[in-house]
């Protein structure tokens, strides 16, 4: 009798653990998308692109209105979000980054302007839509999938799968297509690439578009798993943390870092409480920077002379 109860308790614990793991993986997938979109610009132009948060925000709101007007399905909504994010990133690049590049300005101005870009998106939303909270509906209902009598949320499973597929698609694009190779060449060395006949300005716009696609997609995911509000862009800090843990400057590092961060955060929230999570995360970040600043991937990008 007692053993049976114990066994049932263990099973219950295991079930909760596995469910939390899936939650963590799904939010980790979103963080990975964010971190990779952020890292793409970092690899090419060597500055932390804070406007990525603004891109996520615009993507999320566009997707929300697309849903409101057309009653689109989940995949169509995601597509709307991604494409609007892409265009938003390109507009931002033309507005705030291209003039600085032409002037050969120090990196600090790129960084400040990217923060301005993020703020611009935030205030645009506050001025046009307002500060109210919105929510996406339950796209897939509250349906669960049962695997060996343990039920998993269908939405989380879908989100994790889509994130993984997108990341694999990105890898394929960067390593197997001509324009992907151009992006990698420019990331390696802008001047040499331009000497070899790569149209650098176009490749940089293209990079912003690709990173915007990822940003818009992650924005919609964030909107689905939390709420839609004008300060959503601040979540980019999670993407940056993921990049730091994984290693800025590498492409696969942020993916690992994002998934680690997502899982860690979910378990911290589940077992300690959501209000303590930012505190512990900050302490973990400081520890990480103190002990292994180069991240898991271990590439140090020095500031260029």
């Amino acid at each position: 009798m007692k053993a049976g109860l114990l066994l049932r308790n263990v099973k219950k614990e295991l079930e909760v653990f596995l469910q939390q793991l899936l939650n963590g993986l799904s939010s980790g997938g979103v963080y990975a998308l964010m971190a990779v979109g952020f890292g793409l610009i970092y690899n090419v132009l060597k500055f932390s692109n804070f406007s990525h948060g603004g891109v996520m925000l615009i993507g999320c709101y566009t997707a929300y209105f697309a849903f409101k007007i057309f009653h689109s399905s989940l995949f169509l909504t995601l597509l709307f979000g991604a494409i609007s994010g892409g265009f938003c990133a390109v507009i931002f690049e033309k507005l705030a980054i291209a003039p600085l590049r032409k002037r050969n300005a120090p990196k600090v101005y790129f960084f400040v302007n990217s923060i301005n870009g993020g703020l611009l998106a935030e205030y645009l939303i506050v001025a046009t839509v307002g500060v109210f909270f919105h929510t996406f509906p339950d796209f897939l209902g509250t349906a669960n999938i049962n695997i060996r009598q343990i039920s998993f949320s269908k939405l989380n499973l879908t989100m994790f799968t889509i994130s993984l597929i997108t990341l694999f698609g990105l890898m394929w694009y960067l390593y197997k297509t001509k324009s992907g190779r151009a992006i990698r060449a420019v990331a390696c060395d802008i001047n040499t690439a331009s000497l070899m006949g790569v149209d650098v300005n176009r490749v940089i716009s293209l990079t912003f578009f690709v990173s915007g696609l990822l940003g818009g997609l992650s924005g919609v995911f964030l909107g689905i798993s939390y709420t839609i509000y004008p300060q959503l862009g601040k979540m980019i800090v999670k993407g940056w943390m993921a990049s730091v843990i994984g290693g800025l400057g590498s492409l696969l590092g942020p993916v690992v870092g994002g998934i680690l961060l997502g899982v860690l955060e979910t378990f911290l929230t589940a077992y300690i409480g959501s209000s303590f999570t930012p505190i512990l995360e900050f302490i973990i970040l400081l520890m990480f920077l103190l002990i292994r600043p180069q991240g898991i991937a271990g590439i140090i990008v020095e500031e260029k002379v």
């Binding site: 705030a96 400040v112 923060i115 301005n116 506050v126 001025a127 930012p278 505190i279 970040l285």
Partner: protein, 290 residues
């Protein structure tokens, strides 16, 4: 009259906070996006000391500044040696961290409802005298040998290091100095408004402080002071336009940085010599007429 005094006090406190940020960004090239949280730290610690322990307010301010500098040291320790982006984003994360701490510690700080009942101690004279002291301190600091070495680090860190300048140590010192000034501004703010809550010192405030430095010019203390006064006043005047004012403000900043990255005032600095030169114009005219 007291309305205008209130506006002046708020403007001057803002100028002191921006000078703190200017010291950091203008002298070492580091960007801090948690500068408002150091204001919060100063305001909260001095406020709590005054409210809970009845400590006289100059001593409370002094203790608050020391505590803020200590916290700043712990945060900067892992990141001063790394790339500048790390510093900026770590200070940003610190802002989130502090907000969470302040919201959580309901029994001590009042949580999200804020800390009320701080004694009203700050009048316009205290604020103006502090501003003059801070300006003189920063000006002399910039002109000292230490300051010149810091400017060398900002312009070319590698070259400065190869000349034997210990860059991470210099960066740390300047950062702690700027934390002290910023938290001092926070203390003044707390003792003026008598009420503080965590949302006053959010990320918007931090980015405002950074934007004001870039508006005035990274190289010009005068520019930063005039620019901050102008921006704070214009934000107060344009308050009726609602959310669009911040949108337009940020858009102007982007265009300004695109086409005049050195800021409105660039390298121009108001010194005694400027007055002497101005005086010489009428003097020379008088001489010619003679």
């Amino acid at each position: 009259m007291s309305f205008y005094q209130g506006v002046i006090i708020i403007v001057v406190i803002n100028v002191i906070a921006v000078i703190g940020n200017f010291l950091l960004t203008g002298m070492t090239g580091l960007l801090s996006f948690g500068q408002a949280s150091f204001m919060a730290l100063g305001a909260y610690i001095s406020g709590l000391l005054a409210v809970k322990f009845n400590i006289p307010f100059p001593l409370a301010i002094l203790l608050a500044i020391i505590a803020s500098v200590f916290v700043g040291f712990i945060i900067a320790l892992p990141v001063v040696k790394l790339r500048r982006d790390y510093f900026a984003l770590t200070t940003f994360a610190f802002g989130e961290f502090l907000k969470a701490v302040l919201n959580l510690s309901v029994t001590i700080t009042g949580g999200a409802t804020g800390l009320a009942g701080i004694p009203y101690k700050v009048n316009i004279w205290i604020v103006l005298i502090s501003l003059i002291i801070v300006i003189l301190l920063v000006r002399n600091f910039r002109n000292s040998k230490f300051g010149k070495e810091c400017l060398a680090i900002r312009d070319d860190e590698l070259a400065a290091r190869s000349c034997g300048i210990d860059s991470s140590r210099k960066k740390m010192t300047v950062f702690l100095f700027s934390v002290a000034i910023t938290s001092f501004a926070g203390c003044l703010y707390g003792f003026y408004t008598c009420y503080i809550d965590p949302s006053m010192f959010g990320w918007t405030k931090s980015s405002e402080l950074v934007i004001m430095v870039f508006f005035g010019g990274l190289n010009s203390l005068t520019g930063v002071i005039i620019g901050t006064t102008f921006l704070t006043l214009s934000l107060e005047i344009l308050r009726f336009t609602g959310a669009w004012r911040m949108f337009i403000y940020v858009l102007i900043m982007i265009i300004l940085i695109d086409f005049r990255p050195q800021g409105v005032f660039a390298n121009w600095e108001l010194e005694w010599t400027t007055f002497e030169k101005l005086l010489q114009v009428p003097l020379s005219i008088i001489k010619k007429e003679k």
